[in-house]
Amino acid sequence: MRKIIVFVAVVGLISSCTKTEKPLPIFGQREVVNGDTVYHKIANFQFVDQDSAIITNDTFKDQIYVSDFFFTSCRTICPIMKTQMLRVYEATADIPDVKLLSHSIDPEYDTVALLHDFANRLGVSSDRWHFVTGVKDSIYKIAQTSYFATAMEDKSEPDGFIHSGAFLLVDKEQRLRGKYDGTKEEDVNRLLVDIKRLRKEYE
């Protein structure tokens, strides 16, 4: 009896050591086409960033990126999100294939010039962190249907919009791999760990 217990314990120990980490989930609907699984992907988009550069899906070719939705005049959760996104920016400074993409959900007010000033004041470079503006409905649509994030106008809200504080992690195939609360430091810590896990998939 005793031997069995020791055996079970040893097996348990060995299996826990060799256990490989589970890969990150892949969000959204999937379907099988001709025997291949087709996953939900970020739809095609075209926006303009703080340097007037055109930003499309191709901008993030062979890149992992973190996306969020905000607006510069927001006084509720956005400043906290930007504080946390700045942490992500600083933590990924030496990782060449990680980029950040912040969409304005008030694109009529948040012009290129205003986003340029905002990014400068935050002290960040457009090489790694794009602040984009564009057609409002396109931004709302991509938020909801591609990133599964809430973003819409609501005049009853103090700032005139409702939006989630989510940070979305997108892989090199433009698939959504993680969703985090960008207003919570611990959740952003989890994002930083997941970025490393995701990069391992490409090693």
């Binding site: 006084r75 700045l86 000033d117 004041r121 935050l122 002290g123």
Partner: protein
């Protein structure tokens, strides 16, 4: 003797319950300060941060601020009425509009002011509600 030590323990426990209190101040000051701390967390810390350090050149710092030191009555006014346009703090120019909070009462503004003017590098003592009421009456249009 045992009663005395029990009392000492009780006092220490009480004191440690509320780390945001300042030693050697009046009860009124402590009330202002503790209430102000909570109001600050709700209304101000999103932008100015719990640490009072602000964020980049977007939101100016409060922890060390020549603007705050020199402009008490303007600070009182802008908490209530907001402020837009350029603002120089510690030699840096800021230009992000700050929305006012007109729903705050004079007492609440006095509590916030007492908190920010006695936190971090500041040690101004209590800012009384009567002072605040007088300052608010003299606020310029748009500040």
């Amino acid at each position: 003797m045992s009663k005395l030590s029990l009392l000492a323990v009780f006092v220490i426990v009480l004191a440690s319950c509320n780390p945001s209190k300042k030693p050697g101040r009046s009860v009124k000051f402590q009330q202002y300060f503790v209430e102000g701390d909570q109001l600050y967390t709700v209304h101000c810390s999103n932008c100015h941060q719990k640490s009072g350090k602000g964020l980049g050149l977007l939101y100016p710092p409060l922890d060390e601020s020549d603007y705050m030191e020199e402009n008490l009555s303007e600070v009182i006014c802008l908490i209530k009425n907001g402020k837009s346009g350029e603002l120089m703090v510690n030699g840096q120019q800021y230009n992000q509009p700050m929305p006012g909070i007109p729903t705050l009462t004079d007492l609440e503004i006095a509590e916030i002011a007492t908190f920010i003017y006695n936190s971090w590098s500041h040690d101004e003592g209590i800012i009384e509600v009567q002072q605040v009421t007088k300052m608010l009456q003299k606020c310029k249009e748009g500040t």
